[in-house]
Symmetry: C2
Subunit: 135 residues, 2 copies
Amino acid sequence: MLQAFEGALGRQLTGEVKECNPEILNNVIAVEQAMVKAAQEANATVINSTFHHFSPYGVSGVVVIQESHLAVHTWPEYGFATIDFFTCGEHVYPQRALNYLAKAFEGKHIDISDTLRGDTNALQEQALSDSFPYT
Amino acid sequence: MLQAFEGALGRQLTGEVKECNPEILNNVIAVEQAMVKAAQEANATVINSTFHHFSPYGVSGVVVIQESHLAVHTWPEYGFATIDFFTCGEHVYPQRALNYLAKAFEGKHIDISDTLRGDTNALQEQALSDSFPYT
């Protein structure tokens, strides 16, 4: 896979969106549409997506993107959603996706954490040959 | 959705597995099989999974489970993989999945972080009626 940044292989943004519209958070179609659009807003290439509704309330789902994944879990009864955007590659802007989703869910607050994954200074790169297994 | 623990709606374990077998990390079938088995080892209910291979090296994929999601990204050229297990519900044991995957990838080290998501003390629960939209 690509490197996210100089010195790291991946980057992970996690968001907690509060005081959202519960009806939107419970609507599996609305949540999936917002997530796919958010990935596109971040300049990510969508491969596919899979979402499901929980009983009695809530939606859970993942958009698989070429550059990694974007996941959501919602608790309408708390007006709350978690978002995870894991990305590699320099041409994806995960912050845009989180901002887009906070608006789409009509959330009043979003707390974002930003973590780099895979410190390349601590990892040893091996030169893999062209004949390396590709399965 | 369910609560993961008293006081939190979700729990997220992230793992960084080092010095893995590069051939396993580059084998999309082997990685997907290990991930599905890992979810089952954790007592999670698998809904579906989607994996793809990167050019020239690496695998990326997600297992969607009833209780949330399990994602992996691999860099065979560094012998390195990241694992994310987001779960809610009390009957899932994500640590078992991470341990299973470290062995399946023949990794020599795994660093694990454990984070609770959605502090219920800071969130306000609303009583949603039976007629609340289920879409």
